[in-house]
Symmetry: C2
């Protein structure tokens, strides 16, 4: 039995009713008095010089209130890697040249969307097309066209990681294999497209922006850099957000140009991307070429790994440099890897740029590592679960200078999976296979490329006279349920209900900074800040209750179920409400305020804690058509202490769907830099009817760094799907793949190759 | 030379540009997605039983989304005198009977205002008219109809004040006179009518209301009582407000019914009064019958005063009971009154109720006291300024058990006035007169009828990494400029500019409670809270700077002009920005937060401090037409340390205009409970072209209780206008008045009476 009243209970999303009834307001829905509509004119060329832009005719169109081009912007460059100014490469509007199809070159504000669109048609841009480069392997060649002149060989960022003695270890290995993979991109495909509403106040010179963002703070910084304004003069407000999945960390042209147009017109301006723009002109998962070499002992013990990755960066940086780093890290998880070497390169190419996406750095690399491991196990005659078991990290495992894994339930997860699979799927049909893949992910990043001087998460709790609580933080609920988690953590500490807590989240002006929703950081980092803030208030309540009781100070008091009482004599105590009233009186009429913050300290270079687990996919392959039928999924999951099982389950479902989509059908198709499937008709997501059931088994651990022992939950489960699927196909029909997205024709081809090999082998 | 960098400098209103460009958003302007429009059906009877209400036909009208009558409301009663439940007499909709013409009996929410109005026409209400009472002197009679059955003789509230020995003192007096006055009402006539936008969230059971209010906190409490909800589940947000003047303290039917309709429909609902509704169905200045008896020594020294007031309360309480109390107090100001007795009665009548209005309790009483004093001075052969000088309060003057006046510049004000008038108006034309009247008013009330457990004012200051400041308080800028004053006080303490401060004001959820804008409380009370909050941060900055300097702790540091330095060696110090950065680092990445509050302690029963002064009006009377021409005004003013001379001047101008309007032309005309001039065509305000120039002379004092020595500014100057005007007419043509509003026919009549008396006297 849990000792908690709220933590670990399935709590319905605090925003749930508002969302299903349509009451919830998204930036998308918002209007302001006198608001104008903005639109961006986009480049039709992947790489071209801008010779001239003529807006004369467009200006004349009635209803057009402002048109800006690159020269009308303050010229501020920005990016998320603020520590490295050369990686701050984004601009509001292209000025000298365009670098991808869809890059904005002009922005219009008009009294309606129609007029704004008609104005775009009237703007005359003269381009001089330049040779373009789309393939990262081409991009690094000496004679490749340069996307950014200052970056030789189009190398945007590099990363080297190394520990142990890799070369010696490979010499000692009984078995070595090397595989090469080409992993494709994937689109976030959020229900809510990118959009921003900006309102510039000429009187005070201050800007307010409502936006669909994962990090109001990042957007505030991006806007400050872009507009050359003070951070403190910019207020970013994140209303409800209809999905981010990693695609809404960067400050994108819609918010910057909305701000510029608002500044120019003195009226609020809103820019909403249409679905096509969402596909062609927002970030996506980083495609990569990956070589992975592994050295094993005969018994399957990993001795060494060597990984090389060249990522397809696209035209700008975004969180691409972070992806490169995380890829080099998470390809080792969750296995003990005594000797490791990684070299990563990110290239600039003439495409929309790649960045973070759910499980970034892990999804593509897990595909490579986990399909390779299955092949090695096969070669060595070891059971796929057994080889994973043998190498599994144990609590306290450390990769020198890189990371330390405190709580670690991966062994139990594998054991539970073994047990459950045996029981659930005792017998397989013909051409049916089970594929496994482990997964692990961070609970927020330690690295501080954004260069914030603030604590990573901050929170303030205000307890009012009637016992209700106002909770303030910048934590971003983008649909993942962090609002509910925030309320639950606060409620647990103060011994009240989630309903007693009113949230004020995602507003940079009225809350303490939080870095936002990425890398599964909110539960642990923001949760710790909230816990600290609530505990400050709890201390005050206990102190007042103790004073009233006149009890010996050696006896502890408990704050629970709206009572404050002696732990050893629960009948001696008071109502929470009475103590709140007394405490406010004692506080000379000030409501009770607690402030807390969290920054990881001495936790290595990656994350304070890691969620992990293993996934099994049962699939059947049609040997005639190459069609794969997803039949069943089991996820065994260690996310420390689950805060909200209902929320965690929902997130596991969504992550699994995305992970399987990466393996089965989601693909951004490109022709000379042109995305040719920018719609939900042509970009194939796994739909509800095609999703297999998912069984979720929880392996609780307690992470000493997390609030109530919690850590990352569910984002990690985006990474095993493609690998487990490929492994299932491998075990069903023996087909091997060096790419993801197992389209029927690809599966068929692999089956044919396997059959040929088998025949040749005979 | 002032030692201040910001305080005392003429600073442009921080909202000024937004207001003049139309960018400022008022609740009036707001819309929300899916918003409905609400309208109230009002009683045509001053007093009637409600027999039945039939909404059948109205419900059928397409576009009508909800109709409610009294029985659909939770039945919560509310009022501002929450300490006395019997005075909480307001209801959302009349259920049993209506008590004034305009009282709402049903509310409609529809998709447009037109449809809502058409629906009102379709609601059938059957009334049984009851005998009504309109005159307070009739209302207290035993056989008068009862407005509220529980209140005998229609007496709503009473107030007795007494000190000294009044009867003995009258015996000792050389000169006694008694005058009776009938003082009329006055309408606030704000540019922005009453309106509220309510949005109830069914998922969380929480309500947000944007309203044109003087006190978001009072509205939050009113709504909680009316709707039987928890305070903490109600959030009131006050956007810009287009004038309050005392008429927006009460929770009025528009906000309560908007909330009820939103709860019923699940959609946001907005109710905006039209100008007619604003006149007939919102509060107004309290009309009264007043008897004042004064006993003087031959030399003009006041020995005793006895005052009786019966006010015309109207149908409900509002702040009427407070008006009654303040009237009994401020009729003694700013004179030493060794013996005093006051009996006040507030009556219920069948009219829209009276409440607070700019200078409430002082405007009507000053008219009586100051015109009486001129007559007495005339009878005793004493100069009008001299009789005022002789009785003027001096610093530290105390009315036993009632009030103590610390800073007190009234003597200097009178002296300055004497000097200036002599110099400026050496000679008068025929039928021209100069009238004087002194004035004094409070800096917020000490009395706590609202029964708040919170400090009267609270504030929070957050200093960000770039040195910008977020300032949070509930202080209400309703046009009087308190936002600017708040920013100035904060800027002064932190040694920065007003532009560095972003205000978050008037939102009950995100700020510490403040009681709102009434009785000129914001500068002193909220100012003290802000000062305390900012000083907490300043302490941190000084501590960090001291640490860096390594200086002996006996040397003080100064925070000024964006530097922090040794007071005695100004060259030794640091930039404010650097110290902020260091302090946040030292604070482990938390922004610098200071919290402050203020509640008056041991300051008597009225107010912690009193602004005061004297006004002179020069006017010419046309003996043929009775027309008065306002020619010139001088105001000599002690408001302690003026925070913002520009703002104070603006407020003096507005107050003077209202005070003169009360004396010259503003009159709510009523016929059997029906207001017959509910429009700006028929309700006469003094317009710009008719306003005389106003010369403002400042007599600075320092009030020990105020922030930087500040206290009430300008509200007091609403009270002398009518009296000074009447005195000017008295001195010009000898005409005496026992009422305000000196319409030409009244003046002509008074002149004729004076001439008759003179002839009779001859």
């Amino acid at each position: 039995m849990s000792e908690y009243s709220v933590i670990g209970k399935p709590i319905k999303n605090v925003d749930g009713v508002a969302k299903v009834t349509g009451e919830a307001v998204y930036a998308f829905d918002m209007t302001l008095p006198n608001m104008l509509y903005g639109k961006l004119l986009r480049s039709p060329h992947p790489h071209a010089k801008i010779i001239s832009i003529d807006t004369t005719e467009a200006q004349k169109l009635p209803g057009v209130k402002a048109i800006i081009t690159g020269k009308d912007t303050p010229g501020g460059k920005w990016g998320l890697w603020r520590r490295y100014p050369e990686l701050c490469d984004q601009t509001a509007l292209a000025t000298e040249k365009v670098r991808y199809i869809g890059e904005p070159v002009a922005a219009v504000a008009a009294t309606s969307i129609d007029i704004a669109e008609r104005a775009l048609d009237l703007i005359q841009v003269e381009y001089e097309p330049l040779p373009a480069v789309f393939d990262p392997l081409e991009a690094i060649k000496d004679d490749a066209p340069l996307v950014h002149e200052d970056f030789e060989n189009n190398i945007n960022a590099t990363r080297h990681i190394e520990w142990g003695n890799v070369d010696e270890a490979f010499k000692a290995a009984d078995y070595i294999r090397e595989d090469r993979f080409t992993l494709s991109s994937q689109h976030h495909a959020p229900m809510e497209v990118h959009n921003a509403l900006a309102s510039y106040d000429k009187g005070t010179g201050r800007l307010t922006v409502w936006a669909s963002t994962q990090s109001p703070y990042f957007l505030q910084l991006g806007l400050a850099d872009a507009l050359k304004m003070r951070e403190g003069d910019i207020r970013v407000i994140k209303p409800h957000v209809g999905g981010g999945f990693g695609g809404k960390n960067s400050t994108m042209p819609e918010s910057v140009n909305a701000a510029l147009l608002s500044k120019k017109t003195g009226r609020p301006v809103k820019i909403v991307y249409n679905r096509e723009e969402e596909f062609i002109a927002t970030e996506h998962r980083t495609a990569m070429n990956l070589a992975i070499k592994i050295g094993l002992k005969k018994d399957g013990t990993i001795l060494a790994k060597e990984v090389k990755i060249i990522t397809d960066g696209g035209a700008y940086t975004g969180l691409g440099a972070t992806t490169l780093y995380l890829a080099g890290t998470f390809i080792t998880f969750p296995y003990k890897t005594p000797n490791y070497r990684y070299d990563g390169f990110r290239t600039y190419t003439n495409t929309m740029w790649s960045s973070s996406m759910r499980g970034f750095g892990a999804v593509s690399t897990v595909y490579a590592a986990e399909t390779q491991l299955d092949r090695a196990a096969h070669d060595l005659g070891i059971d796929p679960l057994e080889i994973r078991r043998r190498n599994a990290m144990t609590p306290g495992y450390e990769a020198p200078g890189q990371y330390k894994v405190e709580s670690c339930g991966i062994l139990e997860c594998i054991d539970k999976m073994k047990e459950r699979v045996k029981e659930k799927w005792p017998k397989l049909e013909k051409d049916e296979g089970i594929g496994f893949a482990t997964f692990a992910y961070m609970s927020g990043g330690i690295f501080n490329w954004i260069d914030t001087p603030y604590a990573f998460s901050g929170a303030m709790v205000k307890v009012n006279i009637d016992g209700t609580v106002d909770l303030f933080t910048q934590a971003s609920d983008i649909g993942q349920g962090s609002n509910t988690v925030a309320a639950m953590i606060c409620a647990e500490v103060l011994g009240i209900d989630v309903e007693d807590i009113r949230l004020h989240l995602g507003d940079t002006a009225i809350t303490l900074t939080d870095l936002g929703a990425w890398g599964s950081r909110e539960t642990l980092m923001n949760g710790n800040a909230i816990k600290a803030a609530a505990e400050e208030v709890k201390k005050k309540l206990i102190s007042v209750a103790r004073m009233k009781l006149g009890e010996n100070i050696v006896y502890d008091l408990v704050v629970k179920n709206k009572r404050i009482y002696l732990e050893l004599r629960p009948e001696r105590g008071f109502s929470y409400y009475d103590i709140v009233r007394d405490a406010i009186k004692e506080n000379d009429g000030e409501p009770l305020i607690g402030i807390g913050h969290y920054t990881p300290h001495n936790k290595g270079m990656i994350s304070p804690a890691y969620g992990m687990g293993i996934q099994a996919v049962r699939a059947k392959v049609d040997r005639e058509t190459g069609h794969i039928e997803l039949r069943d999924v089991i996820v065994v999951h260690d996310c420390g202490q689950t805060i909200n099982p209902l929320g965690a389950r929902g997130q596991v479902e969504g992550s699994t769907q995305m992970g399987l989509g990466f393996g089965l059908c989601e693909e951004i198709l490109m022709d000379n830099g042109l995305i040719i499937n920018p719609s939900f008709v042509d970009y194939k997501l796994i739909r509800f009817r095609d999703m297999p059931p998912i069984e979720l088994i929880d392996v609780p651990t307690y992470d000493p760094e997390g609030p109530f022992g919690a850590k990352e939950a569910a984002e990690a489960t985006a990474s095993p799907g493609a690998a487990a699927l490929a492994n299932a196909v491998y075990h069903a029909v023996g087909a091997e793949f060096d790419t993801n997205v197992l389209r029927p024709e690809k599966v068929l081809k692999a089956i044919r190759e396997k059959e040929k090999k088998d025949r040749a082998g005979k």
